[in-house]
Symmetry: C2
Subunit: 505 residues, 2 copies
């Protein structure tokens, strides 16, 4: 293998098995970005009909290559087939949901104010709509090789609203990235999209050059806080800084009340361990801190969770970096004052990026000694608390994508207090279940206060498209320069006309 190549590594073996491509050169990055910029006008001109058709064609094309995609995904990520099957279904569903969003048309926020007298004098005819922001750079995530990578949520969010996409493929699954890219590109072509609606680059330096390129108008990124910081700094150097939408790090606290621990400690232990070890613990919504009451009322849950973790086999992580970060983080957790390792799963055998599941425990009084960072991999920290400590603990937490409360119906006052405190710390509050398994739907929100995201937008669900739109107003415009959605006769989308919201007739 060429050491400067982008190689496909089998994490189960820890070995390169295929030389996929070369890192994209500076000239090639510029070429791909310019080509995307050239596609922007024609793609936008195709309008909602084209955007919707492209998304549906992509969904169909991905579905048609299901066996090939799942097989390659397994080899490059070591994720189980069932997980990849599910992820592909989700990815296909997502593309179709975004096509529904396009057909619905409310995402345009079309608004017309006819010329009229106002308290400030005569007002002109004004028409406003959200338009495509322009070519978007999308950085694939390692842990969702489909749903948050080349064919993932950011890609379809941008395509749905008329923007070309230049993808930065993740080096953790380059062969799958190329396969998915070719599948999407072919589908787009067949659906009548302009050439070069999609581009693909590889390599760290290419990623930096991508966000610095003048054609790129926004960035969607799912990855580490440090990766996000590097890109933010590069963007700040541009003469025209552009929006950066990063989904970076999330602790996802879970609070179990005394009532819940006592009523269903075993059940909660089972669901918790399943949420922590599923996908080898490599999910951005994995519970990283679980608040459980001290004393016998919490012991049942903790002991059962420890038993289940002890029974857990080794997990193969996605790549050497995630494996090393897991070793570093669990090592530093273990050395934190007052921290106890209360369960370890079976150790890995042989080569590859396999690790041991670990359950850690500490006390609320020790919280300041714990580094409260996200840690990918099959582990979580249980924090035992006295009732009067829970408020102070929550106030110290960083922002997260999610926060979960497990309580009983007769603990209403406590739930109200926890809700108030956790609201400022998360973008999604759960009152049953665990936060892993993020439904793609109209009402979903996947975001939250820093460092989870910049807090004002979602990267999952119908409203994720808003990240790649910008408002435009036309004043006293002749009808023939207006988008059809802003013409007086149009009635097939929701619009606000002279202050009143109207639905399609």
């Amino acid at each position: 293998m060429n050491p400067s190549s982008i190689v496909s590594i089998d994490p189960a073996l820890g070995e390169a098995v295929e030389d996929v491509t070369a890192p994209t050169t500076t000239d090639q990055v510029a070429e791909v970005c310019q080509a995307a910029a050239a596609a922007a006008g024609p793609y936008e001109a195709g309008g909602r009909k084209l955007w919707s058709r492209v998304l549906r064609a992509m969904a169909e094309a991905l579905e048609a290559r299901r066996p090939e995609i799942v097989l390659l995904g397994q080899r490059e990520t070591a994720l189980p087939a069932a997980r990849l099957e599910g992820e592909l279904s989700r990815t296909v569903f997502q593309a179709r949901l975004f096509a529904d969003v396009v057909d619905d048309g409310a995402f345009l926020e079309a608004t017309i104010d006819h010329a009229a007298q106002t308290p400030m004098g005569p007002g002109p005819d004004l028409r406003r709509m959200l338009i495509p922001i322009g070519p978007v750079a999308v950085f694939g995530a390692s842990n969702f090789p489909l749903a948050f990578s080349v064919p993932g949520g950011d890609t379809v969010s941008a395509l749905a609203v008329g923007c070309p996409v230049v993808l930065k493929g993740h080096e953790s699954h380059p062969a799958l990235s190329v396969l998915a890219f070719e599948t999407l590109r072919e589908a787009a072509r067949k659906a009548g999209a302009p050439e070069n609606l999609l581009g693909l680059v590889f390599g760290r330096q290419a990623g930096i050059e991508l966000v610095m390129h003048p054609s790129i108008q926004a960035v969607g990124f799912t990855g580490s806080l440090s990766g996000g910081r590097a890109l933010t700094e590069a963007i700040a150097l541009r003469p025209d800084p552009i929006p950066f939408f990063g989904e970076l790090a999330s602790l996802n606290p879970v609070v179990v009340t005394a009532g819940a621990a006592s009523a269903r400690g075993n059940e909660l232990a089972r669901d918790l361990v399943s949420s922590v070890t599923g996908s080898a613990g490599q999910l951005c919504t994995k519970p990283g801190l679980v608040l459980i009451p001290t004393g016998p009322v919490g012991d049942v849950l903790v002991e059962e969770a420890a038993r289940l973790v002890t029974d857990t086999g080794p997990s193969v992580l996605l790549n050497a970096r995630v494996r090393d970060a897991y070793a570093d983080a669990t090592g530093s957790f273990e050395r934190a004052p007052g921290m106890r390792v209360i369960a370890e799963g079976s150790p890995p055998e042989g080569a590859g990026y396999a690790v041991t599941a670990r359950l850690l425990e500490t006390d609320a009084s020790q919280l300041l000694g714990v580094k409260l960072d996200e840690c990918f991999g099959p582990t979580t920290v249980i924090l035992r608390y006295e009732p009067e400590q829970v408020g102070r603990v929550i106030d110290q937490l960083p922002g997260s994508l999610t926060a979960t409360i497990h309580a009983e119906v007769d603990e209403r006052e406590l739930v109200a207090e926890l809700t108030t405190r956790l609201r400022g710390k998360a973008g999604r509050l759960l009152y049953a279940g665990f936060p892993t398994g993020v439904l793609v739907s109209w009402a979903q929100h996947h975001g939250g206060p820093w460092p989870a995201t910049n807090s004002q937008h979602t990267s999952v669900g119908a409203t994720a498209v808003r990240r790649f739109q910008r408002p435009m107003a036309w004043q006293s415009a002749p009808s023939w320069v207006l988008p059809e959605e802003l013409l007086d006769g149009t009635t097939n989308i929701p619009r606000r006309v002279d202050g009143t919201l109207d639905l399609p007739s």
Copy 2:
């Protein structure tokens, strides 16, 4: 006068006439921010009824103090009474429009997905809504002492969506800032708002400390590019960076076609000079670059504009900084290669911050020699172009709030081409009139590509509220933790339920 005081200066005299207050100390900034944070919960809990009532009470209170406000505004800004009367009407109208937005309820984007089977298995009950982002720092602008200052658009945008506001008063009109602040605070109190819903600080250092304070969750700023940069850098140092919405600098190109120049050169000259010299040229949408054809077809317009500028009396600018910047900018414009001063108004007499109106002219081939920056004050640059040059000129322009095309009905092809090129350079496209005089309405958009703003949000019009909201999703939540707008029975606002947008019944 105490040299470390915040003093009220009469720009017509260039002299301090009142010692208003002291710069806010570090401890005081912290106190004001903590008080705003304490008001956040109770204000949010008051819900849309309270938010709307507060805005209407503020509108009424401002109206009740009209004579006092206008008089003080005149003394501190040297803007004419008619302009300040109009600005107050606009400010009052704006507060009422935002109350209408609150009553309408669509701004919440309330969305409900009931638990249901999905292609990925059973989906939980998910409910999403936009919630207040938290206390907002608002920096008043010098040039709109009412509409973009203490009682201005950013303030009512934040209050409309449930956020407390800490204002940084502009040193150019401190006495008016205090009067407006007290008027608003008294109105809020009478309307039942929590104490300290509004705070006010003064001084440059206090402004930096304000955006760094952990209680502040977003910043609305209208001002210079350098001021915006300083605040952005301060925000980047926070452990939790927060959204910064800056409206910074705008050139506002105007393109006059040969058809328009020839059909109505005199009329365009009159409207142009009025737009350039109105409010002493201190408007963010003032046309800073006017493209006019070379040759006799453009000469009529240019000669009439020169005549009108020559007849223009001196203009008193807002403060010494604006006056000095005007001198610097017009000086550097004049020294640019190929630049001609083609008209000068009457020179100022006596003291104060008065300046001379100036009309400059250059040729399209010289564009690279011109510093294409916004310049506050009664001046603009006319750029004479040959038909084949116009595309290249537009492509070189920075982002602006607005771009204006003056053409005739038989120039459709040219207008289409200009529209395509200017779209990427502005947030509002005009096909009649001039860009000054920004209507406050549902369809307005006041924003644009960098450096105008960060491009994705407006700071004027109904959708300006979106800057101060963040999404929140509730999963499997008991009804009593949900906001009333997300309860199944609620039908008095637009909502999307199971994918379908419903209007109030």
